[in-house]
């Protein structure tokens, strides 16, 4: 089996890997930061007249929960949803509720069906995201009809965001902290 290739920019010479360990601060904080960065998408240079951009922060959270079960605690939806609510424009509390429920639901699925392939992961993410967007639209008083393109785009974008999560996951475990 081919080993995952670390981009040359991040690759550490072999001799320097001896007596090194990943920094626990980075290994723990990087996933949270990535999800929060996704939640900041309303400040990106896109101004839309209708909802089109996928909920990037939510998709990152689902990707982390599926790729590294147990990395986020079950209650991760509470602080991350709260942060998302500050920027998303949804009624306050919508993110806290739905993100918490997502974390609990995915934890249950993980215990029930621990072995899943790529397409099963994608299917689960698609179902979760579609349900999340519908409930969010309902909470904001919008109609289900207008979020169709957004749901489709979110589902298509999920594998790409999963790759980004995989890259960050490799980055966060690079051993660069000296043990000496």
């Amino acid at each position: 089996m081919a080993l995952p290739v670390v981009p040359r920019k991040f690759a550490v010479p072999r001799a320097h890997q001896i007596n090194r360990a990943p920094s626990p601060t980075i290994a723990i904080s990087l996933p949270w930061l990535l999800v929060m960065l996704g939640s900041l998408s309303p400040t990106w240079p896109v101004i839309a007249s209708f909802p089109l951009l996928p909920p990037i922060g939510f998709l990152f959270l689902v990707a982390w929960l599926q790729m590294r079960p147990g990395l986020f605690p079950v209650w991760a939806g509470l602080p991350l949803g709260l942060f998302d609510d500050l920027y998303s424009g949804q009624p306050f509390g919508c993110g806290v509720l739905l993100w918490s429920l997502t974390a609990i639901a995915l934890d249950y699925v993980e215990a029930r069906f621990p072995w899943r392939g790529f397409f099963q992961n994608w299917l689960l993410a698609a179902a979760t995201t579609a349900l999340y967007l519908c409930l969010a639209a309902f909470a904001a008083g919008g109609s289900i009809m207008q979020i169709g393109p957004q749901v489709l785009l979110s589902i298509l974008l999920y594998p790409l965001l999963g790759r980004i999560v995989g890259m960050i996951d490799r980055l966060r475990l690079l051993p660069f902290r000296s043990l000496a």
Partner: protein
């Protein structure tokens, strides 16, 4: 290898308790979220302070990225311009010739209008804008339509003030932070603007549909007089929005009104102006006192 289950951490009591506590906190989080949601649906202003602080914190970054956005669109326009230049040029020549004539006529009308207003002693008073600002972001994935501008309470922006671009009405200020404010766009489903047809003053309400277009509902029901291409401006009734601000053009006729496209697309707008709230009684106060007419017996 199957991943280790998080649910059964072994015989350690400490691990079992902390695991149990995590699930309790998660359920409590969902409960708290539900309560917050109920409070904020009841009272939309409930958490505006927290959101104001949050948007203030990111507004410098967002301002920089807004500059990138308009630059990027200019770049695409340049490329498109090369491809379309021939046809575009011919069309614009024709339009320019027409526009010159119309400009001269409009100039004459404006002069006449000013003369008549002077005669009547009636002055609307030019609106002195409160602040000029940049649109720095919008709720991109929510079904609600908000935008963020980079001027806030420090520059005199207050809740309720109308926001417009050179092309027309954009929305009104909903929440203010110190250096940023949140704007309810006219395309939001909660936004209702009283409007009239620019040509003859047919009154209607323009409410957002949430998909970038507006729904025009006529005040007087009956035969629908609207046609495609009719331009609508704000009527100023009920206050808030200054009368005569361009807002939308009809694109599709429905049974009791029309669907219209807003003139100022927020995505293509970079700079906006915050205007003071329009007070309807202003004109009435400035009217000269009318001499009482004696009632004549028939």
């Amino acid at each position: 290898m199957t991943p280790p289950s998080n649910r059964r951490p072994g015989f350690s009591r400490r691990a079992q308790y902390s695991n149990f506590a995590a699930y309790v906190i998660a359920a409590a989080g969902a409960l708290v979220g539900g309560l917050l949601l109920i409070v904020s649906v009841r009272d939309a202003e409930a958490f505006s302070g927290a959101r104001g602080v949050a948007t203030d914190a990111t507004s410098p970054v967002a301002t920089a990225s807004a500059a990138t956005r308009s630059g990027g669109q200019g770049f695409l326009d340049t490329i498109a311009g090369y491809l379309m230049s021939g046809r575009e040029n011919a069309r614009m020549r024709k339009e320019l010739a027409l526009a010159r004539v119309q400009l001269a006529e409009a100039q004459a009308l404006r002069d006449e209008n000013r003369r008549l207003k002077d005669l009547a002693g009636l002055s609307l008073g030019e609106a002195k804008p409160v602040a000029a600002a940049r649109l720095i972001g919008s709720s991109s994935s929510s079904t609600r339509r908000f935008a963020t501008i980079d001027a806030g309470g420090e520059r005199g922006v207050r809740v309720g003030m109308p926001v417009r671009s050179p092309l027309g009405l954009v929305g009104r200020v909903l929440e203010t932070g110190r250096r940023s404010a949140r704007v309810l766009l006219i395309t939001d489903t909660e936004s209702i603007v009283p409007v009239r047809r620019a040509s003859d003053g047919v009154a209607a309400f323009a409410s957002g549909r949430g998909d970038g277009r507006l729904l025009l509902r006529l005040v007087n029901l009956g035969v629908n007089p609207l046609k495609r291409g009719d331009a609508f401006v704000t009527s100023g009734s009920g206050g808030l929005y200054r009368p005569g601000t361009a807002i939308a053009v009809v694109t599709q006729i429905t049974s009791d009104g029309a669907i219209a496209r807003p003139l100022s697309d927020p995505a293509a707008t970079e700079f906006i102006v915050v205007e003071p709230e329009w007070v309807e009684t202003e004109t009435v106060r400035e009217l000269p006192p009318q001499p009482a007419q004696p009632v004549k017996a028939p």
